[in-house]
């Protein structure tokens, strides 16, 4: 069974059409090609579907705020899965 990080990585690869994408905690939206506002919502939809969780409106933009990174995103997802 894949852990949350691996499942999230698969979702990122599908949404950003990049099979070589490898997530690490320090990565930000700047480091991923094509991570704009539209792609961000597509990512949120894919994460909600893939992991069976729901993001609140305020959380959606919070996950992509300047200063936030993949580690923070993963933390939010893991908290929701608990």
């Amino acid at each position: 069974m894949l852990n949350v990080r691996d499942r999230l990585q698969d979702i990122f690869r599908t949404v950003f059409v990049d099979p070589k994408l490898v997530l690490n905690d320090k990565m930000t939206a700047e480091d991923v090609d094509g991570w704009d506002s539209l792609a961000h919502i597509n990512l949120i939809i894919a994460v909600e579907r893939g992991l069976g969780i729901k993001f609140a409106t305020a959380e959606i933009s919070r996950t992509k705020e300047p200063g936030r990174n993949i580690g923070d995103f993963l933390q939010i997802v893991e908290n929701k899965l608990r």
């Binding site: 090609d33 409106t57 959606i60």
Partner: protein
């Protein structure tokens, strides 16, 4: 009281000193609430306007309490629609003249800061429903809505950020360095408003006086001054105002969101809105664009891209209509909506054509950046022709210039 005046400086100084003289949180909260009312008094023209303001604050807090207690989901759309309807009527949107009897407009009702209060209420209602809101009492909500430093023209502070300030009400004396920085910000804002905005406004008004037939070179130079001076006026006036209020709030220990980040060097319309009136853009992004795109994209996943373009257009068209009650603001919004929608379509097409490495080269090219900034700046200046004055007058001017040119 004008924001750019000696009276305002004295008011800010008096409020900041008195605020810090109070020893505790509760006293400071009461003082801030009383200050807000005192600030409102000269801005509310008559008893009807007071009644509307009280009804708006009381009514929206009632909706919040009701939805918190009963957790019945239809309250959210009902609450939002009712408040928007009240907003449209109080603001007297011009289309209502055809739909409602003229007796309705007998009393002059002006609720200062209503556009901002509406957006703050919707944000609080949605976040509360989704369990994202910090505790919200009647006093904290009223002070959040009527805070003198955000009442007139934002920035749109999020409630949880306000609540941090509300909870802390830091009882220590103000830090010297931060206090000086805040005063520096206030004075910078006043210079922007009092000097640069005034000069740009003077140039704009002079240039706009006469577009009658005249030698083509004179007409074009007059039109160029008219076209470029208003965006300069708007930037210096609004960003100066924002400096004053951010500095004023800073003196009390309240951190307001930034609203401007060199907007006229944006490389496209999308980038422009991420730099201009940022707190409004982010509000529209979160509560209109993202919410509606998410709902639509989940339902019609194969149409995601088209839906995205359409909603970008609608979001910015909405931003235009929010700015004012007359048709020219709708045209301004529609122009930006078209620009941003087309920009997203262009970006998607480029991605497809150039691939990852090509896009990177494209974005890093200095020449492309210069051309893009120049085009965007002129696009924004053109769109602001519809913002600065009524639709008829703008069309008249465009027609006068066009008919002499072609």
């Amino acid at each position: 009281m004008s924001v750019c005046s000696i009276e305002m400086l004295l008011f800010i100084a008096a409020v900041a000193i008195t605020f810090h003289l109070f020893p505790g949180r509760i006293q400071r909260r009461f003082f801030l609430s009383i200050t807000n009312v005192a600030f409102l008094v000269p801005l509310v023209p008559n008893p009807q306007s007071w009644a509307c303001l009280v009804l708006f604050i009381g009514g929206t807090y009632g909706i919040l309490s009701f939805s918190r207690t009963y957790r019945w989901w239809p309250l959210i759309p009902i609450g939002i629609c009712t408040t928007i309807a009240a907003f449209v009527i109080i603001k007297r949107y011009s289309f209502l003249e055809y739909a409602l009897p003229s007796s309705i407009w007998k009393h002059v009702v002006e609720v200062v800061g209503l556009s901002y209060m509406l957006f703050k209420f919707i944000h609080v209602l949605v976040d509360q429903w989704q369990g994202q809101l910090a505790p919200c009492s009647f006093m904290s909500y009223t002070t959040y809505q009527l805070a003198f430093f955000t009442l007139l023209a934002g920035p749109i502070q999020r409630y949880n950020d306000f609540h941090r300030f509300w909870e802390e009400m830091d009882p220590r004396p103000g830090d010297i360095r931060e206090t000086l920085l805040a005063w520096n910000r206030i004075l910078t804002g006043m210079v922007k408003m009092g000097l640069f905005a005034s000069l740009a406004s003077f140039a704009f008004e002079r240039a706009g006086l006469n577009f009658e037939p005249q030698p083509i070179a004179k007409l074009l130079s007059r039109f160029a001054i008219y076209l470029y001076s208003y965006p300069l006026f708007l930037y210096f006036n609004f960003s100066g105002y924002t400096d004053v209020v951010i500095g004023s709030a800073g003196l009390l220990g309240c951190v307001l969101p930034e609203n401007f980040n060199r907007p006229y060097v944006a490389r496209n319309v999308h980038d422009y809105w991420n730099r201009w009136h940022m707190s409004l853009t982010f509000w529209i992004r979160d509560y209109i664009f993202m919410a509606s795109y998410k709902a639509c994209a989940e339902l019609f996943s194969s149409w995601q891209k088209l839906i995205g373009y359409g909603l970008i257009f609608l979001s910015l068209a909405f931003a235009g209509v929010w700015h004012g009650a007359t048709a020219n603001f709708a045209v301004f919004g529609a122009i930006h909506g078209l620009g941003a929608g087309a920009n997203q379509a262009y970006a998607d097409a480029l991605k497809k054509m150039l691939g990852r490495s090509g896009i990177k080269r494209y974005q890093e090219s200095r020449w492309i950046r210069c051309v893009a900034v120049l085009l965007t700046f002129n696009f924004v200046c053109f769109s602001l022709l519809f913002f600065s004055t009524g639709l008829e007058r703008t069309l008249e001017i465009l027609n006068a210039v066009g008919s002499q040119l072609f």
